[in-house]
Symmetry: C2
Subunit: 139 residues, 2 copies
DNA sequence: CGTTACATTTACGTCAACGTCAGGCCCTCT
DNA sequence: AGAGGGCCTGACGTTGACGTAAATGTAACG
């Protein structure tokens, strides 16, 4: 009576197991499937996520962290398992996208830093004001 | 016959003058009015932006740079000219919001930096791969 | 057989800050 | 009178990544 509950230790995961493993919602997985980012196999109507899906999802989430859009990610993923021969060219392409994204991120960071500096300056000004007003209203 | 074209050097600006002065579109100004961020006076159906509107818009744009939502900005602006007496309390409130926003920005920057670092690492890995593949395919 | 507990599909809703028409008024120059 | 220009209102469209609701299925437990 081995408690073979979910997917019986096979190397496929149910949607719930997948969600728990990656901290995403079922909606997200279905959404990704619809967007052709994942291709779970079907047992009747249910989805079973393979090792390949898990690898892809890991890459998807990593890509998201870097700010790539799902569409970008899909293209990269597609490229890699469409023709597993043009390795160099593919890596090249990936590399270019990464470089572009990287400079975007750095620029964004710089703008953010500028804004932070400015906001701090404004706040320093605000502190003066507060002090002044406090003196004025002192008992 | 002074060529009194737009608003005749008075201290009100037409929508176009306002747009040119602040580099925004008419749509934006109308939108801000609808959102109760600006209150241009009406000459018939046309808008005339006063000095007060200009001051507010300046603050709005500054706020946006800091990542405040229009709704946040509206509340702050409202607060300031609803009761022009609670200066200290208002400044206090503004200060709190600014502090909160500041830490959000700093966190965001940190996450971005982390992602940048990670992406760079990935890219270094990619370079190795490219080099390896290049050797393999060398003539 | 009934209930519980997930699963599925379909499709509309969300959020922000505007963009983009479409249609119409009013004034001015020619 | 016609053409042109600027301004107006009103309302739908955009973008991305899902959330959420409704109706249905189906598998297993008891």
């Amino acid at each position: 009576m081995t408690p073979a509950k979910p997917s019986d230790t096979a190397d496929v995961l149910t949607i719930r197991e997948m969600c728990d493993a990656f901290e995403v919602t079922p909606r997200t997985l279905r959404f990704y499937e619809q967007k052709e980012l994942l291709f779970p196999i079907r047992q009747g109507t249910r989805r079973l996520f393979t090792r390949r899906d898990r690898a892809r999802l890991k890459l998807i989430l990593r890509g998201k962290r870097f700010g790539f859009s799902l569409e970008d990610i899909r293209q990269l993923l597609d490229m890699y398992d469409r023709d597993p021969g043009q390795q160099a060219a593919q890596l090249q392409r990936t590399y270019e996208l990464a470089r572009a994204r990287l400079s975007e991120m750095e620029q964004q960071r710089d703008e953010l830093n500028e804004a932070i500096t400015d906001l701090k300056a404004q706040m320093a000004w605000g502190e003066e004001m507060l002090a002044t007003l406090a003196k004025g209203n002192a008992t």
